[in-house]
Amino acid sequence: MSPDSDSMNEIRFFGTLAAAMTHDMKNFLAIVNENAGLLADLAVRAQHQTIPVDPLKAETISRKIGKQVARADTLMKQFNRFAHSMDREKEWVDLEEAVDLVSRLAERILRQHRICLTVIPAPVPCRIHGFRFALLHLIYRAFEILTRHQTRELPDTEQEITVRFGTDPKIPEICFIRDSGPAFEPHTLFRSPEDQALLARGHMTNKPMDSGEGFCLRALSPVNE
């Protein structure tokens, strides 16, 4: 595994989430733009046809703009947290929070694949001392494997995917389970050199489920806080 291909893989991951985020931002801007346009329409009518602007209508428009600004603000905060995940090479990372962040940033991508995600809260603290960016990348890679492990045609109905966490705080674990579709073959999961390098960077290992319905990412060594 050359350092170049490692870096390319990371840049690709960053780029994918950045593209999804900017697409959403454009949508929010489009709605703000149309609401501003509607206000302009009302102003023109008020000026030329002496129809006064309805205060309730103006309030509704203002509320709609505010809603889009709040959506954009939340998304920008999440993306900012993601961008800062590269700041420290090692820190305590809450895996439940990490799953939440990736699932929010990848929401558009998951929806495009008609994936409906359910995250079951962790029963015990699920923290690992590692490189946050690599862990986020690993979680995204798990989603990618789940979405690409479908049949070629997009399903007519939504695919349910459940994420749950392990019960032993000393050995943090995230499990990804799919409700339907062909069974995962253990030898095909995280076997590429890129995936192996990613697992190593995240200090995690992959453990396929015996039933073939999913797989878990587990800390490579016990955690001592």
Binding site: T22, H23, K26, N27, L29, A30, I31, V32, N33, E34, N35, G37, L38, D41, K64, K67, Q68, R111, Q112, R114, L154
Partner: protein, 142 residues
């Protein structure tokens, strides 16, 4: 006569505000939140233009464009996209998109493109009708 438009986007807030502004400009607007829903609506109804988001959950704009064009080649489809690259525009035009606009779009520009699309559709329908008449005359020796 007003233009009849089908607006397709997965953002309901966008559909609501766009249809309100388009209707205020005299257009008749129907909406769909997915390409699948739009395809179902097209089975029973005709439109002068379809304005559709390029990227949607499930079937995306390009796939929907291919499906619609194979069934109803006379339909005029204007695609909306977050980022209108030259590559994307060429791809859309090759499959038969009438036009491609970048979001946030200027409504006056979109309205002008819808008017133009309606005129083009009428020409295509006229041509199709003439060809059908010619074919009938040929077959029955008129």
């Amino acid at each position: 006569m007003s233009e009849k438009v089908l607006l397709v986007d997965d953002e309901k807030d966008f559909l609501d505000i766009m249809s309100e502004r388009m209707e205020a400009r005299g257009m008749t607007v129907k909406t769909a939140t997915s390409a699948d829903q739009a395809l179902k609506m097209l089975e029973n109804e005709s439109f002068d233009a379809i304005v559709m988001d390029f990227k949607m959950p499930g079937m995306d704009g390009i796939q929907a464009l291919k499906n619609i064009k194979s069934e109803k080649p006379e339909l005029q489809i204007i695609l909306l996209t977050g980022y209108a690259t030259v590559e994307k525009t060429v791809e859309a035009m090759k499959i038969g998109a009438t036009d491609l606009l970048e979001k946030p779009a200027d409504l006056e520009e979109l309205a002008a493109k819808i008017k133009q699309a309606k005129a083009e559709k009428m020409l295509l329908v006229k041509k199709q009708t003439e060809e059908k008449i010619k074919d009938i005359l040929k077959r029955f020796g008129g």
